[in-house]
Symmetry: C2
Subunit: 182 residues, 2 copies
């Protein structure tokens, strides 16, 4: 049903929030978070090299990372994002079909951001989601279920997925999407 | 008078907007801007080394700089900030007394952000404001009037000041400030 597509909803059996960014939402937030971004196409080495610590400095909330980085994103102060300590990172995927659950045809037209916590690498929950390197090394990233990683004998991931962000969409398009449900 | 202290107001004879950031404000407009930040205490070399180009990439507005940088700030999409092309930079001063106009005692308690355009270095307007290196080289930055720089024979600055940002303040404090005007 269309229900699982609604903002902030949790897809059945998926223990990670999936939210759709609203147009202007970042600007209206009373608190924003800046996070370093890696592209999914990059080697998995990059996600470990992105700055781990981003402290907020002074009255203007200037963000100071422990080292330089060139790709950043501003997100609203959503709970899972604000709760990130050291190790928070965003991986941008050009295609939402990377998500390991039943998808519909709209997914392939949508990029997504996966927010992960690199300080939580252990594969613990079967129904949790983890950022993992593609088989074969320098092939980039994927999002995997805990159960799938365990079956493959993987006990350590690149990080636990805490949030998945979908891009803003025109309201008209949203309505169409709901009607066109597969 | 207290008038010149109001949000968005222009101090008499000063051709640069001075705005106070509101608590929770990231914008009245629906967009935000991420800019690289330099500390005024750093050598003036740093302001020239901060990334010049920050492009917005894709539907999430991921900012991609041409090189890594570790200090960033998110500002509301104010006109002078949105209008910045390549070369936009923010210098954080711990003390607003750096501003070269009549100040009151509140200034010393306030840090400010100076937004400058490094692509406009020529000292042109007498009543314009410019980011300049402190005399003696490695002493950091100052904000100077065009007329003062011209008198000193300086024709090239580090950049034209386009906006000055004051920190958010409690409303109660604001009222007190107005009463306590010098």
């Amino acid at each position: 049903s269309g229900e699982s597509e609604e903002e902030g909803d949790v897809v059945a059996g998926v223990k990670v929030p999936v939210v759709r960014l609203q147009f202007g939402e970042v600007a209206e937030s009373s608190r924003v978070v800046i996070l370093p971004v890696c592209k999914a196409e990059e080697k998995d080495k990059e996600v470990m090299e992105a700055p781990w610590e981003c402290e907020s400095e002074g009255e203007f909330g200037v963000v100071v990372a422990e080292k330089g980085w060139k790709r950043w994103v501003v997100l609203p102060g959503w709970e899972p994002v604000v709760g990130l300590g050291k190790g928070g990172v965003v991986v941008s995927f050009s295609d939402a079909r990377v998500l390991p659950w039943k998808v519909n045809r709209w997914y392939k037209e949508e990029p997504i951001l996966v927010v992960a916590d690199r300080s939580k690498k252990d594969v613990e929950a079967d129904d949790g989601f983890y950022l993992a390197a593609m088989d074969g090394g320098d092939m980039g990233f994927k999002v995997e279920r805990g159960s799938a990683l365990k079956e493959a004998g993987v006990t350590e991931s690149l990080g636990t997925v805490v949030l998945i962000v979908r891009p803003p969409k025109d309201e008209t398009e949203n309505e169409l999407a709901d009607e066109d449900w597969e």
